[in-house]
C-alpha cells in the first residue's frame, strides 16, 4: 500500500513538472559520487535548462539544453533526484532572465570563436612556412572537383544563368579569385580569416560554375533498416526543399556577405543530395558530423543488445523526422539540419557522442566535410608572422582564462548561474521586485555550494512551489514494490549485487548496500559498505595485474564514499548506463 502511494506520488510529481516546464525555476540536482559529488544547480526557463559546466581547458561554460534531455542525463542516467523551485513570476521576467543567459552564451561563443580563428591562423602560417598544403576548409569537401558536369549541378547552373544572368557565376568566380590574390599578395597575417573566406567563396563559385557533383564521402551511409523508399509526401517535401535551395543559392550568389562561401557550398551540396534522393527514391542526407578537426567516434564496449537497441531507436527517430520535416514540408534550414543529424546518428549505429555536448535544440552540427584547397603563396616574412600569430593566440588564451576560468569558490556553476540571473535586471531593487530576492547576495559565505544556494532560493526568493523529481532508482523501486510487494523484494533491492534494477558499475565505487532510501539505518549500512570496500580493495590488489588497478580504485573510492554515510549523509546512489 505504502509502495503504491509512493509510486503514485512520484509519478504525479514527475507529470506535474513535465506539464509545467513553462515559467522560471531553479533546479537542484542531488550529489552522486565522482565529479557529481558536490551536487549541481541549474535554471529552467520555458522548457530550456541553463547551467554551467567546467569545460574546454578549465573554462566555465554555459550549457543550454531541453528539459527532457537534462532530466534524462541527471535524473535517469546519473540517478540523481531533482528538486525544482518554481518562481512566481510573469512571462516578462522569464524572458528577461533568458535574455541575460543569451547574452552570456553569445559572449562566450564569440570569444571562443575568436580564439579558434587565431588557432587556425597559426595552423595556416605553419603550413605556409613549411610549404605544406594549407589546412582543410570546411564545406569544401562536400562537393568534388573530380566530378564536374554533374547533371543536377548543370541544371542548377542553368537556372542561375536564367535568374541572375549568364555571367553571374563567372563574375563571382573572377571576383573571388581577385580577392584571394589581393589578400595573398598583401601578406597581412592578421587578415587570414578574410583569406580563408575568399578561398571558400572561390571554391563555391568554381563548384557552381563547373557543376561539381556531390562527394560520395560527404553522405551518411544509412543502414538498410533505416533506408525506406520515399513516400509521396516525402517526395513532395524534397521538391519543396529543392525549390527553396535554388532560391537560397541565388540569394547567396548576389549577397554581399564576404563569408558566404561555406553557406553556398552547403546549400549546393544539400540541393544535390535532394535531387539524388528523388532520382534514387531513397533519402540521401549529408553527414552532419563530418568536419575538419572533428574526431570520429571510437568503438565503445556496450553489449550487442544495447547496440541493437540504439540502432532501433535511431531508425525510429529518423522515420519520425522524415515524417515531420519532409512529410509536412517543413523544410527550412534549421529543421532540415535536425534530419541530417538524426541520419548521422543512425549511420553511426545510433551513437551521437561524436557530436560533443548537447546544445539547446538537437546537436546543431552542420555538414562541413573539409578539403584542402590550392592557395597562392602568402607574401611577407612568414617566420615573424608565425611568431606574432602565436603571441596573439597566447594573449587570447590568457584573456579567456582571466574572464571565464573555473574557480572552486569564486567562479563556479553556482556563482555564475546566480550572477547571470541577477544580471537580467538593472539594480538590486529591481531584482528584488522581480524575483523576491537576489540570487547572489553578498552575505552568504557558503553560497557557492549547490544545496546552500538552493536553500537560499527556497527561503528568500518568490517561490510558488517546490517539485521533487525522483531519480530512476526511486521510480523503479516503487514500481518493483508495487508489482511484488514484500520484505523479500525489499531486501533483494537493497543490495547492489542482488538488485533487479541496478547493475554494479566501477565508476559508482564498490559498495554493497544502497543508502539513499534509508536514514536511521544509514550509519550501520555505511559501516557495512566500509568493510565491503576494504574487502574489495584487498581483492583488487590481487586482481591488479589483470585489471590495471581498476578494482583497487573502486574499492578505495567505495571506502571513501562510505564515510559520509557513517554521519547519516548519502552521496553515492549508483548510476545507469542507458535509458530504457
Amino acid at each position: 500500500m505504502r509502495a503504491l502511494a509512493l509510486a503514485a506520488a512520484l509519478a504525479a510529481a514527475l507529470c506535474v513538472f513535465d506539464a509545467r516546464a513553462e515559467g522560471l525555476g531553479f533546479v537542484y540536482v542531488s550529489p552522486n559520487v565522482g565529479l557529481a559529488s558536490g551536487g549541481h544547480a541549474a535554471l529552467v526557463a520555458d522548457g530550456t535548462v541553463y547551467h554551467l559546466q567546467n569545460g574546454d581547458e578549465g573554462l566555465l561554460l554555459l550549457v543550454r539544453e531541453g528539459w527532457s534531455a537534462f532530466h534524462l542525463v541527471y535524473a535517469e542516467l546519473e540517478n540523481r533526484p531533482l528538486e525544482v523551485a518554481v518562481l512566481d513570476v510573469g512571462p516578462e521576467v522569464t524572458e528577461r532572465v533568458q535574455g541575460s543567459f543569451a547574452r552570456l552564451y553569445v559572449e562566450q561563443e564569440l570569444e571562443l570563436a575568436r580564439r579558434e580563428s587565431l588557432r587556425e591562423d597559426v595552423r595556416w602560417l605553419e603550413a605556409y612556412a613549411q610549404g605544406r598544403p594549407t589546412p582543410q576548409l570546411r564545406g569544401a569537401g562536400l562537393v568534388s572537383p573530380d566530378a564536374p558536369g554533374d547533371p543536377d549541378a548543370a541544371w542548377l547552373r542553368a537556372l542561375l544563368h536564367v535568374r541572375l544572368g549568364r555571367d553571374s557565376l563567372t563574375r563571382l568566380r573572377a571576383e573571388s579569385e581577385r580577392a584571394v590574390d589581393t589578400l595573398a599578395r598583401a601578406g597581412d597575417p592578421t587578415r587570414l580569416e578574410a583569406l580563408r573566406e575568399a578561398l571558400s567563396l572561390r571554391e563555391a563559385a568554381r563548384s557552381l560554375d563547373g557543376a561539381f557533383g556531390l562527394d560520395a564521402r560527404a553522405v551518411s551511409a544509412l543502414p538498410r533498416e533505416a533506408d525506406d523508399p520515399l513516400a509521396p509526401a516525402e517526395r513532395a517535401g524534397l521538391e519543396a526543399l529543392s525549390t527553396h535551395l535554388e532560391q537560397t543559392i541565388g540569394e547567396l550568389v548576389g549577397s554581399a556577405r564576404p563569408d558566404r562561401g561555406y553557406a553556398l557550398l552547403l546549400a549546393q551540396a544539400r540541393y544535390l543530395a535532394a535531387r539524388r534522393s528523388l532520382a534514387t527514391d531513397h533519402l540521401v542526407l549529408l553527414d552532419a558530423f563530418a568536419a575538419p578537426g572533428r574526431a570520429e567516434v571510437v568503438p565503445d564496449d556496450v553489449a550487442d543488445t544495447v547496440r541493437a537497441k540504439r540502432r532501433v531507436q535511431a531508425a525510429g527517430l529518423l522515420r519520425r523526422g522524415r515524417e515531420q520535416v519532409l512529410g509536412a514540408a517543413l523544410v527550412d534550414e534549421a529543421n532540415f539540419n535536425l534530419l541530417e543529424e538524426v541520419a548521422s546518428i543512425t549511420a553511426r549505429d545510433g551513437r551521437a557522442d561524436a557530436a560533443g555536448p548537447l546544445s539547446e535544440m538537437g546537436l546543431r552540427k552542420l555538414p562541413a566535410r573539409g578539403r584542402s584547397l590550392e592557395s597562392p603563396p602568402l607574401a611577407g616574412e612568414l617566420a615573424s608572422a608565425l611568431a606574432d600569430a602565436r603571441t596573439r593566440l597566447r594573449e587570447e588564451d590568457a584573456r579567456l582564462r582571466a574572464r571565464w576560468s573555473y574557480d572552486l569558490v569564486s567562479r563556479n556553476c553556482i556563482t555564475e548561474l546566480a550572477r547571470a540571473t541577477d544580471g537580467a535586471f538593472g539594480s538590486p531593487e529591481e531584482v528584488e521586485r522581480a524575483l523576491g530576492a537576489a540570487a547572489s547576495p553578498s552575505d552568504e559565505r557558503l553560497g557557492f555550494i549547490p544545496f546552500v544556494f538552493f536553500d537560499r532560493v527556497r527561503e528568500r526568493m518568490r517561490v510558488s512551489r517546490v517539485v521533487g523529481i525522483p531519480s530512476r532508482r526511486e521510480l523503479e523501486l516503487a514500481r518493483v514494490l508495487r508489482e511484488s510487494p514484500g520484505t523479500l523484494t525489499r531486501l533483494r533491492e537493497s543490495t547492489a549485487y542482488t538488485s533487479s534494477i541496478y547493475q554494479p558499475l566501477a565508476r559508482d565505487s564498490a559498495f554493497l548496500l544502497f543508502t539513499d532510501d534509508v536514514f536511521w539505518r544509514r550509519p550501520a549500512y555505511g559501516a557495512v559498505n566500509l568493510l565491503f570496500g576494504l574487502g574489495y580493495t584487498t581483492y583488487g590488489l590481487a586482481a591488479a595485474p589483470f585489471d590495471r588497478g581498476q578494482r583497487v580504485g573502486a574499492g578505495l573510492a567505495g571506502m571513501m564514499w562510505s564515510l559520509p554515510e557513517l554521519a547519516f549523509v548519502n552521496v553515492r546512489k549508483g548510476s545507469f548506463d542507458r535509458a530504457d
Binding site: G55, L317, A334, A352, V452
Partner: protein, 155 residues
C-alpha cells in the same frame, strides 16, 4: 539550514577538492549513453516543430527560432558597444546563426528584427538608428524590419 543539510555540508567540505562543477566531457564518459540524451533532445525539437508555426500548430515560433532571435538581439546589443568592424559583425552573426542550424541568416525575417531590438537595448538614439537604417537602404524589407524591432521590441 536543517541538520541533515548541515551534515551534508560537513561531508562535502571534507571532500572539497572533488566536488567541483562537472566537466563537460564527463557527460560523455560517465553515463555512457549520451546518445540517448541527444536523441531525446532531437525528439523534443521534432515535437516543438509540430506544435509551432507552419504545421497547423499554435503559430508560435519554434523554441529554436525564439532562441535564435534572443541570441541575435543580445549579440547586436553587445556588439554595438564594442569596436568591431562590419565584417566582424557579419562573422559573429553567422556563428550565432550556425549554432541554431542556420547558414542563410539573411533570409530569416527575425534576423533584422532582432538586430533592431538589440540596438534599442543598447540605447541607440532615434537619430543613430535612422543613420543605421539609411546605411542599409531605408526602403529595403530588412531595414523596415530592423526599424520595427527598434520601435516595438518584443512585439
Amino acid at each position: 539550514m536543517n541538520p541533515r543539510r548541515a551534515l551534508l555540508a560537513a561531508a562535502l567540505i571534507a571532500t572539497l577538492p572533488t566536488f567541483g562543477c562537472k566537466v563537460i566531457s564527463a557527460i560523455i564518459e560517465m553515463p555512457s549513453d549520451s546518445s540517448a540524451g541527444s536523441s531525446r533532445s532531437i525528439a523534443g525539437s521534432f515535437d516543438a516543430m509540430s506544435t509551432s508555426s507552419g504545421s497547423g500548430g499554435s503559430g508560435e515560433p519554434t523554441p529554436n527560432k525564439a532562441s535564435y532571435q534572443r541570441d541575435v538581439r543580445q549579440y547586436a546589443a553587445v556588439f554595438v558597444k564594442g569596436t568591431g568592424t562590419r565584417d566582424d559583425f557579419l562573422r559573429g552573426l553567422a556563428k550565432i546563426a550556425e549554432d541554431h542550424g542556420i547558414t542563410h541568416w539573411e533570409s530569416e525575417t527575425v534576423t533584422p528584427r532582432a538586430i533592431g531590438e538589440g540596438l534599442r537595448d543598447a540605447k541607440l538614439s532615434e537619430a543613430q538608428m535612422d543613420a543605421f537604417v539609411d546605411s542599409i537602404g531605408r526602403d529595403t524589407p530588412a531595414a523596415q524590419l530592423a526599424l520595427d524591432g527598434y520601435r516595438h521590441p518584443g512585439g
